[in-house]
């Protein structure tokens, strides 16, 4: 049974030009011990998915889903308290922008102390708890590679460089010893050595502590190094999902193909000084969403049927939503 199972997640947001479906029937699942990558361009709704999983969306936005299960229990029908209990002990989130996700008026020590649940502390008197929280916090900071822990814990967010804050938010997310880590672009803006360190830490935790990770990013290199499986998102629609190796070997959706082709390091056959491949056009804005398959106007294989939303088809555990998938040619 998958740890997190989302089917047909639709998110409607109210804008000045009416209600818009920012997410349209997104499917996503994360198995236990799995590293699932969620890939998409900027503005494709990756962060919105993250926020709807943890329930951090404004209340007036409409979230509907056929299924949104956490270990078989429906998240959407839960009370706020039950949901909070899950996010407190079992799920953790690393937000995209560390500076805005940290309270500017509290020291980092206060903030990480809040995330350490009581059950991680051994039975001590209440005056010993502070010291215990402190030592857990220090250990977590060392794990993500912050050496100067005293300075870090004493500081306010604006006093530290952004990459330290980024590492700190990762440490904070891991402090509660979660089952699932939702990492929204966790290595953004890091230099390459720290990035590798963080990715290594995450894959180590994945192997030793059986931590499942939902890795949201557009860094294909990092994803291919880390992830077991991948879900590709385009403009609020999940276009393809499956095992990493399968998708890399044989993408079925034209968008996935274009995405993989756009990364030069995935193309061994690319001759020197060749033009890099990319799709024409840009991702549509929320005001001008195309009907049916949202890739339609940019898709090299689009035909008349594409104004209707394609059903999700599957080959084994490889799901895709396209009327004219790429394998048809070869057949």
């Amino acid at each position: 049974m998958p740890l997190l199972d989302i089917k047909n997640l639709t998110l409607e947001i109210d804008t000045s030009f009416g209600w818009v479906k920012a997410l349209d029937k997104v499917n996503l699942s994360v198995d236990t011990k799995e590293v699932r990558a969620l890939v998409g361009e900027s503005g494709s709704g990756k962060s919105l998915i993250v926020k709807s999983i943890i329930g951090a969306l404004p209340e007036r936005w409409k979230v509907t889903a056929d299924r949104m299960n956490w270990k078989g229990k429906d998240l959407l029908s839960m009370s706020d308290n039950q949901r909070r209990a899950i996010t407190r002990s079992e799920m953790s989130v690393v937000f995209q922008n560390p500076l805005s996700a940290l309270d500017p008026s509290a020291t980092l020590e206060e903030q990480i102390a809040e995330t350490i649940p009581d059950n991680l502390l051994d039975k001590g008197w209440f005056w010993q708890r502070r010291a215990q929280r402190h030592s857990i916090a220090v250990a977590q900071l060392h794990k993500v590679g912050i050496r100067d822990h005293e300075l870090c814990l004493k500081s306010y967010p604006h006093q530290l460089p952004e990459d330290v804050c980024q590492k700190f938010t990762i440490a904070m997310a891991l402090a509660s010893n979660p089952r699932l880590l939702i990492a929204d672009n966790p290595t953004m803006g890091m230099e390459i050595t720290t990035k590798i360190q963080i990715l290594r830490l995450l894959s180590k935790l994945n192997k030793t502590r059986e931590l499942s990770i939902l890795f949201v990013s557009h860094d294909l290199l990092a994803i291919s190094a880390m992830a077991d499986s991948m879900t590709v998102l385009y403009c609020g629609q999940s276009v393809e999902s499956g095992k990493m190796t399968q998708i890399r070997k044989r993408p079925l959706h034209p968008y996935t193909k274009a995405l993989l082709d756009s990364a030069p390091s995935f193309r061994r056959d690319l001759p020197p000084k060749a033009a890099l491949h990319c799709l024409e056009g840009t991702i549509p804005t929320l005001q001008h969403l195309p009907i049916g398959c949202r890739l339609g106007p940019r898709c090299p294989r689009a035909q008349k049927e594409c104004v209707k939303m394609p059903d999700v088809r599957r080959i084994h555990d490889h799901h895709y939503a396209c009327h004219f998938p790429l394998h048809r040619d070869k057949a």
Binding site: K51, I54, G55, A56, P58, R60, D80, N81, R84, A85, I86, T87, R88, S89, S92, V93, F95, N97, S100, A101, L102, D103, P104, S105, A106, E114, T115, P117, Y156, M172, S176
Partner: protein
């Protein structure tokens, strides 16, 4: 911090200096003889004139006389009121506390009412409670203070007859002038019927304070509400929810602190606006404060009093603003980068 303090002190000294220079210039800008405007002695004879020329150093050039003026201001010699013939400085020290007293009570009351209302309203954004509070604050914000004061007199003093409509305390009680704050004076004095006098003074305070409070309170409600809404929408509040904290924990530990710190200076600055409104209200309620005193001075073209009154009020406002700035800085040392003063 020292650099900061130095900068603010510098600002204070320079502003006071400019204010003094401005009040000196007023003596020449007002119609009539500058000497009369400075001293308050109308039609001096030749001998007195020479004496005054010497006293204000008007015969020694502009800068010498400006310097002389500063020394006189600091010595407390602000000239003589043309109306009453008594020292302007003494009249200012008598009337200013009454105004400050009124403003302080109104400020405290509006903070006590406005802050909680604003917070409740911000937390229940787009709900009935929010809309209700917002519409009341809009009404309070739009009603002119003088009109509201007149209405209050009409309803509570004339129709219902429950509250007195003018002055600080009934004529029956002879309150010795000590600090100038009527409640403090009554408490300090050993007069008979102290409790009755206190009650009477309270009753006199209610109407002017209320009519001032309505405006300031609705302003504070709106400020607080906006700030709370902005903060509760921010990412770190969502992150705090995502950590699994309950709503009350989030509001107390992350929400309120971040919502209130940035608007503190703005809240404090409402006091200066309040002082201005207090002057109008004083006239309506015959409250013997500096506003009423200055309006009388303006009617009677009592130039030394106008000059002194303006100087006194602006000095109070400027020193209050800067000292609150420093105080807030001491309380919340977070905004370290804000070295320069802001308007």
């Amino acid at each position: 911090m020292l650099v900061y303090l130095g900068r603010r002190l510098n600002l204070l000294v320079i502003t006071l200096f400019i204010l003094c220079a401005g009040s000196f210039a007023l003596a020449f800008l007002f119609p009539g003889d500058p000497l009369t405007n400075l001293s308050g002695l109308a039609n001096p004879d030749e001998q007195l004139r020479q004496q005054l020329m010497h006293k204000y150093a008007l015969d020694q050039g502009f800068f010498a006389s400006l310097w002389q003026y500063f020394q006189l201001i600091f010595a407390g010699d602000w000239g003589i009121s043309m109306r009453s013939g008594s020292s302007v400085f003494e009249e200012v020290t008598r009337t200013l506390p009454a105004s400050i007293e009124l403003s302080v009570y109104a400020m405290v009351l509006s903070l006590f009412i406005g802050l909680p209302l604003g917070i409740f309203s911000g937390l229940s954004h787009r709900k009935a409670l929010d809309r209700g509070i917002l519409s009341f604050s809009l009404i309070g914000y739009s009603v002119p203070v003088f009109w509201l004061a007149l209405l209050m007199i009409l309803v509570f003093a004339l129709k219902l007859g429950v509250l007195p409509m003018s002055d600080r305390v009934s004529l029956l009680y002879d309150v010795p002038l000590n600090t100038g704050f009527v409640l403090l004076d009554i408490l300090q004095s050993d007069m008979e019927h102290r409790e009755a006098a206190l009650q009477n003074a309270f009753a006199h305070l209610i109407l002017p304070t209320l009519s001032l409070t309505v405006f300031t309170c609705s302003l504070i409600v709106r400020l607080t509400r906006r700030s709370v809404i902005n903060v509760m929408d921010s990412d770190y509040i969502k992150a705090a929810y995502a950590k699994g904290m309950s709503r009350s924990e989030v509001v107390w530990q992350h929400g309120l602190k971040n919502a209130l710190i940035p608007i503190m200076p703005q809240l404090v600055m409402q006091f200066t606006l309040l002082m201005t409104n207090a002057m109008i209200v004083e006239v309506i309620f015959s409250w013997p404060g500096i506003g009423e005193w200055m309006i009388q001075a303006i009617y009677q073209r009592d130039f030394p009093s106008i000059r002194g009154g303006m100087l006194a009020v602006s000095v109070v406002v400027v020193s209050f603003t800067i000292s609150m700035d420093v105080l807030l800085k001491l309380l919340y040392p977070l905004s370290k980068r804000q070295l320069h003063a802001q308007v």
